[in-house]
């Protein structure tokens, strides 16, 4: 139980200023970026040295406190909303040192609280490239990205966060340090526990050190924009490019609603009457870029796309400006915006686009669609006001129907936002009851008391 002597113990361990107990301080860690009911923790702990993490976790565990680990709290599935009843938040954002950037062997070692963009910038300064670029990278932490297996715009060619995890050190609920993976390209030693940690959403242990893969940056790139008169044509173009076995580094989609909201917001000269835009970039060796650009253009033309190639850095920036503004533009329309991330195989994009339109019409909702078309990860975004009970109800129904369609098309509930609380209800639909039972068996084995972010993903019990 949380009492004065336990608080004293925490204070002795991590310093008085890092044990937050006041009502206001605790309320500040009751939420993340998910439109979901907040839950006020009993205590917030902010270790500043990774060396104290084991003792800290053990102390919480021995005292039966439900633990939620939090980086920057930018989660979009409720993954860091604290647990009910005596919940404790362990903040990792003060564990923010980059320990090593090794340009000879192409890896970097960092603490979990390093902000993704700062990490990527430091790597770029050293002449290398860290590709994962989740939308919140300016504020999200690497640890959070690993725990959620965050994606981003470059997922199509470069993969997602888990593809860059070479090794992890973490503390388990007994306060023991667990080491997995290595600084080597290959490592077949023992279980692939790093693989388990990626996407574990704080249910297994607390990460203290991450060894991340970094790669040589591409030498050349070509950005382009294609304007389409129908969403189906745009969807077919994406499917066609993939089927032609070209892998652009990024292939993003904006629908008519989104591009019009961007025009309302900033007026950057997008064609308001276009049904959809595709923003595409290919990168690599200059010759490869030339070839792939030609191949991509051929498919775009065949599908009726009107192509504009960026001829310099300013034009390239202009192409991506539209994509950067998409979320802001949609967020401004109404007080809230619900951003989903259902994902389908690329060949099924035409079908899911049709489903999005039908669902928005059926539930009379304002919806803009944008996202990572190249990897099938779309963001149907509902512009709404949570205070409007009736509308909120319709949003929830629409979201559920989107999940059903995505699954029916062989897709997945979440491409990059994680399961957390908000998607856990549908997990058995995508997998099976047996899968859930197996996950719970693993959870009980590493967390016998069921205290590690207990309600998230599949729950412990």
């Amino acid at each position: 139980m949380l009492n004065a002597s336990l608080i004293k113990e925490f204070e002795n361990l991590i310093g008085r200023e890092n044990v937050l107990t006041s009502e206001a301080d605790r309320q500040n860690y009751a939420y993340d970026a998910t439109p979901y009911v907040p839950c006020v923790p009993a205590l917030v702990l902010r270790p500043t040295q990774t060396g104290t993490l084991g003792k800290l976790l053990k102390l919480c565990y021995e005292n039966d406190m439900p633990i939620s680990v939090r980086g920057s709290g930018t989660n979009l599935s409720g993954g860091v909303v604290p647990e009910n009843g005596n919940g404790v938040v362990i903040l990792t954002n003060a564990l923010n040192r980059i320990l090593e950037i090794n340009t000879e062997d192409c890896y970097a070692v960092a603490e979990p609280g390093v902000v993704t963009a700062q990490f990527a910038n430091a790597v770029a300064k050293a002449g290398l490239f860290y590709p994962p670029d989740p939308g919140s990278m300016s504020v999200s932490t690497l640890g959070g990205n690993v725990a959620e297996n965050a994606g981003g715009l470059r997922g199509l060619k470069y993969g997602v966060t888990k593809d860059y995890v070479m090794g992890i050190e973490f503390y388990d609920t007994d306060g023991e340090l667990v080491k997995t993976g290595s600084r080597t390209v290959k490592c077949a030693t023992g279980y692939n526990l790093a693989g388990l940690m990626a996407g574990s959403e704080g249910t297994v242990g607390i990460m203290s050190k991450l060894i991340m893969k970094i790669v040589p940056p591409p030498k050349a790139s070509q950005a382009m924009k294609a304007i389409f008169r129908s969403t189906q044509a745009a969807a077919e173009a994406v499917a066609g490019i993939i089927a032609a076995h070209v892998v652009p580094c990024t292939m993003e989609y904006l629908d008519n609603v989104t591009l019009n909201k961007i025009e309302d917001f900033k007026g950057i000269g997008l064609p308001r009457d276009a049904a959809a835009l595709l923003l595409i970039e290919v990168d690599g060796h200059p010759e490869q870029v030339k070839e792939e650009t030609a191949a991509v253009c051929a498919v775009l033309e065949r599908c009726g796309g009107e192509i504009q190639l960026a001829t310099n850095a300013a034009e390239k920036n202009k192409v991506w400006e539209a994509r950067r503004l998409a979320l802001s533009a949609l967020s401004r329309v109404k007080p809230n915006c619900v951003l989903e991330d259902a994902t389908v195989p690329r060949s099924k994009l035409p079908a899911i686009f049709k489903a999005f339109d039908d669902i928005a019409a059926k539930y009379r909702l304002n919806m803009g669609v944008f996202g990572h078309a190249g990897d099938g990860n779309m963001h149907p975004t509902f512009m709404c006001d949570m205070r409007d009970k009736d509308e909120w109800d319709r949003v929830e129904k629409a979201v559920e129907e989107i999940f059903d369609h995505a699954l029916a098309l062989g897709g997945t509930l979440t491409g990059e936002h994680g399961t957390g609380i908000t998607k856990s209800r549908w997990l058995s639909k995508e997998t099976s009851e047996g899968t859930l039972a197996f996950c719970r068996k693993i959870r009980r084995a590493v967390d016998p008391k069921g205290l590690m972010n207990s309600s998230k993903i599949v729950g412990v019990k």
Binding site: S22, E23, A24, D25, Q27, N28, Y29, A30, Y31, D32, A33, T34, P35, S72, G73, T74, N93, A94, N96, V115, A117, S136, S138, V139, L327, S328, S331, R332, P335, N336, C337, D385, M386, R387
Partner: protein, 430 residues
């Protein structure tokens, strides 16, 4: 307002603007205070959550809300970053106003905002009368910053180094100005601001020199007062509107094309805030403000974009190094970053070397530096390190509050660079 339920319902009036925060947390990326402390209560998302909780009676502790609201520079960086366009500046100012009405304003702030700032003659008299004692209160350090510490005032300002206060105000030195438009065909009202009137007289002299050179007529009444921003950010709307009206009446006596200031906070206040708070003013005051407030413009923008009279030149072989710090209100509220740099490049005696994070806040934030001296110093240290790394001879900026903070930081750490307003560097060439 002394009743808690009145306070709750007053804060509830902010609800419509509070709901636009989607809690994405992008404000963490640009907030200078959060950048230092990494605490959720120090960033806008956290502050907005607490305001919302208090107005819904989930949180009872108004002192906790108030304390967090004061840990904000009102630099506008969060609002600039916010995807959903939450009007944090306005929300925080309104909240401070509502809370000040409930808790009452501190006696010292009341004295300053309501009795000193509205009376320019009283202030000038105090400066003149106090001048012989300046050496006693603020013994000079003889440092390159020409700043002074004030041991007798340590209780109020800590170990801060202040600009040595001149014996005379700028207004009493040059007197009221009223010259017709010259070859430029333009006539401006010059608003030096408190710092331009009382501390950075060289900056104000440079402004007049530049106007004269370019044939710009100048109107500067002798009874201008503070723009009102310090009162507003402390929640004293009454004093703020009074100061706005006094200024408007004074400026309304003549005609001019622009109100030019060397202080972006004054420009922002006149252009964007006077009108916003004018709704309850008498008709004639409202009319004058509506007419003149939109004419406010920053001096850098005026010289470069309106006069179009500034041409960059190649630096001399033996040019000194100048680096430039972007003031938050200039960069964010007035969207001006290129113009001051153009002024610097127009002086062949200097070569511009950009510092790292030139656009990061210096940590002054007006009264923030008095309310939160330790935080202000922490934020300032980062700026100082970035400045020192350039080895610049001169740190130019375009805001007297930034000038004060940067000279203070340099003086404390023995930095050799001189701090100057961009217009001073430009005026050297004329």
């Amino acid at each position: 307002m002394s009743d808690l339920s009145q306070l709750v319902s007053a804060l509830r009036s902010l609800e419509d603007r509070l709901v636009s925060c989607n809690k994405c947390g992008f404000c963490m990326g640009t907030c200078p205070v959060f950048g230092q402390t990494l605490l959720e209560g120090d960033v806008s998302r956290g502050k907005l959550a607490l305001l919302s909780n208090f107005s819904q009676e989930i949180l009872k502790d108004i002192d906790a809300v108030s304390a967090r609201l004061s840990r904000c520079l009102l630099c506008g960086a969060c609002q600039h970053t916010c995807p959903s366009g939450t009007e944090t500046f306005d929300i925080f100012v309104r909240a401070r106003e509502i809370i000040a009405a409930y808790k009452g304003l501190s006696p010292i702030k009341k004295l300053i905002f309501r009795h000193l700032l509205p009376h320019p003659r009283l202030l000038s008299f105090m400066m003149a009368a106090g001048s012989p004692f300046t050496g006693l209160v603020m013994p000079k350090d003889n440092n390159p910053q020409q700043t002074a510490q004030a041991p007798l005032l340590r209780r109020f300002i800590g170990r801060r180094h202040l600009p040595s206060v001149a014996g005379k105000t700028f207004a009493s030195e040059v007197g009221a100005q009223d010259t017709p438009a010259g070859k430029s065909g333009l006539r401006v009202a010059f608003f030096p601001g408190c710092m331009g009137d009382k501390a950075y007289l060289d900056m104000s002299r440079a402004c007049l020199k530049v106007f004269r050179h370019h044939g710009v007529g100048v109107f500067m009444p002798a009874d201008l007062v503070c723009c009102g921003l310090p009162a507003l950010t402390s929640g004293d709307t009454e004093a703020f509107t009074r100061l706005a009206v006094l200024n408007a009446q004074s400026l309304g006596r003549s005609h001019f094309d622009y109100i030019v200031t060397p202080c972006p906070s004054c420009t922002m206040t006149i252009r964007d805030l006077w009108g916003r708070y004018a709704a309850n003013l008498p008709e004639d005051a409202r009319r004058i403000i509506a007419e003149i407030a939109p004419k406010a413009i920053d001096i850098n923008v005026f010289l470069v974009d309106v006069l179009k009279a500034v041409t960059p030149v190649e630096p001399d072989a033996d040019a000194k190094t100048v680096t430039y710090h972007d003031p938050c209100h200039l960069r964010l509220s007035l969207a001006c970053t290129a113009e001051p740099r153009t002024l610097l490049r127009a002086n062949p005696g200097y070569r511009l070397t950009e510092m790292n994070e030139a656009d990061r806040c210096c940590g002054c934030g007006g009264s923030f530096t008095l309310a939160e001296p330790a935080l202000s110093e922490d934020i300032g240290s980062r700026k100082l390190n970035n400045i020192m790394a350039t080895n610049a001879d001169v740190v130019a900026t375009a805001c007297p509050a930034c000038m004060m903070q940067i000279s203070d930081m340099l003086a404390r750490k023995g930095g050799k660079a001189r701090v100057r307003h961009a217009v001073e560097v430009y005026a050297e060439t004329l």
